[in-house]
Amino acid sequence: MKLRNTLIAYGFLLPALVLMGIYTFFPIVFGTYLGFTEYNVITPPRFVGLENFRTLLGESYFWSGLWNSIRYILVVPVIQLVSIAVAMLVNRQLPGIGGFRTAYYIPVVSSFAVVGLMWGWMYDQFGPVNFVLKTLGLVKNPTNLLLNPALALYAVMFVTLWKGIGYYMVLYLAGLQSIDRSYEEAALIDGANRWQVFWNVTLPLLRPIILICSLLSTISAIKVFEEIFVMTGGGPAGSTYTALYFIYSKAFQDFKYGEAAAAGLVVAVVSLFFSILNFKYTRGGQIS
């Protein structure tokens, strides 16, 4: 009876386990192994020890790419702060508030193919962004922002921010709405001002969600690729070249799968390091 039950349970799980086994768990194991081999898909992988990592040490493009990926983490605190602010802004009963929430969410459901093309136009030399900057007196001679090596990475970061705010807003909104109002009211009665209530009551209660959100956005910042693939292709002058771009071009343009996998391992370690840092800074998402 017990065995039968177990078999039925695994029967239900079978499709999920098979698919995840092939497309999620196997890549972790085989990808790690590949990092220590030379592989070209046609002949079987040949074990080469640390050779790929030694090659990586000399690849300046890999290191500048990794550095750009790490710089991309700058997006994380900005996106979280703005999302919390927007969530608090839309967390009130006002006529039409649902419409605003929807408007803020539309970038989230758009493909990066669409978003990348649109922002490519926005950043054009005579596009809307430069019109605003010029009107505000911030630039005199507009240039295409994506063609400026000093600014391109920040321009792409802004698009990540623009597309991500709605997503985190919804998560924070759910968090804010699950906070018991009586905590905040008690603090107000005790004479705290609104800012103190936010800083000492609301924010600590949001900590579990802040952990999830900053973890997710850190992981995707290090993996940033799609927006760069569509908008700049790593240029100009390698200024938006990221770690994942290196992995992508090593594998699918140079067909050096072993070296690409080795680079993937290095990025994975960096990613883990920043995830742990995240845990530390949000105190593991504990409320008190």
Binding site: P27, L89, S111, F112
Partner: protein, 284 residues
């Protein structure tokens, strides 16, 4: 003026401030779409100019006619529909099946499996793309038409979020209902199909929208894995279009509008479910 009037005045000033802020943010999030729509209907003249136009110059449909005639747009749309249909149906099946024993049955290895599935959300897997590409080639999926669709769909079919959402939904169903059915001799399959699925329909709907958006929008994996562009979904085809007609922004803009439209329709009609699904993912 008495204190009450002052308070009311302050309150309405605050409300005006809130609306002003809400509108500014909405303009920033919506404007790029607005610009794209205007450009797609513009007939002539410069597109990039100061100040940016607020209405199409000499409105026309010819950009739409042009892309449909010069790009296999219809073919891309058909591909996207096929990918979305099988992708959404398949991932619903995998998640609704997989979530059930994790929530409502006891068996050895349950907690380990659930933990392993959740860990995939955080575990870095930067080489995943490479290995999945190799797997797709070794499985010989690129040798036939249906195989190419399968190559695009299969890696995204088992969704961690989906299994998690379904498990949460099943957990909320009272134990008594289940035990009564088991005492009556109903098989687990019947319980799943006749009790669990109907009772979790809102979650299934939320997950369906989530997956529809994901499949419709994905463009990178098809570009990497497919050698035959005629199997591209619309989002991948759109980038190909940009490569071919980089100078014809109006034509690319109309392709962009076409790619965006189905998502907007599905999202606006299903957003209540969609938001709930998203929130369900964070509330434990």
């Amino acid at each position: 003026m008495n204190a009450k009037a002052i308070r009311r005045a302050r309150k309405s000033v605050q409300t005006i401030g809130v609306y002003a802020l809400l509108i500014v943010i909405a303009v920033i999030t919506i404007y790029p779409f607005f610009w794209t729509v205007i450009t797609s209907f513009s007939g002539s003249g410069g597109i990039f100019k100061f100040p940016p136009p607020l209405w199409p110059t000499s409105p026309t449909l010819e950009n739409y006619v042009y892309v449909v005639q010069n790009v296999p747009l219809v073919r891309y749309i058909v591909n996207s529909v096929i990918i979305c249909f099988f992708g959404v149906a398949g991932s619903i099946l995998v998640a609704t099946l997989g979530g059930y024993p994790l929530a409502k049955m006891e068996f050895p290895g349950r907690d380990f499996i659930f933990g392993a599935i959740l860990a995939t959300l955080i575990l870095p897997n930067e080489a995943g793309l490479i290995v999945n590409y190799i797997t797709t080639i070794k499985l010989g999926l690129l040798k036939s038409g249906p195989g190419q669709y399968a190559a695009i769909i299969l890696p995204s079919l088992a969704s961690t979020i989906g299994i998690f959402l379904m498990r949460q939904a099943y957990l909320a169903i009272p134990k008594e209902l289940l035990e009564a059915a088991r005492v009556d001799g109903a098989s687990e399959w019947r319980i799943w199909w006749q009790i669990m699925i109907p009772l979790t329909a809102p979650t299934v709907a939320a997950f369906a929208i989530l997956q529809f958006v994901a499949f419709w929008n994905s463009f990178l994996w098809p570009i990497i894995v497919l050698t035959d562009k005629s199997y591209y979904p619309l989002a991948s085809g759109l980038l190909d279009l940009q490569g071919q007609f980089a100078t014809n922004t109006r034509a690319v803009a109309s392709g962009t509008v076409i790619a965006m439209l189905p998502i907007l329709v599905v999202f606006l009609f299903g957003q209540r479910y969609f938001m709930r699904g998203l929130e369900g993912a964070v509330k434990q």
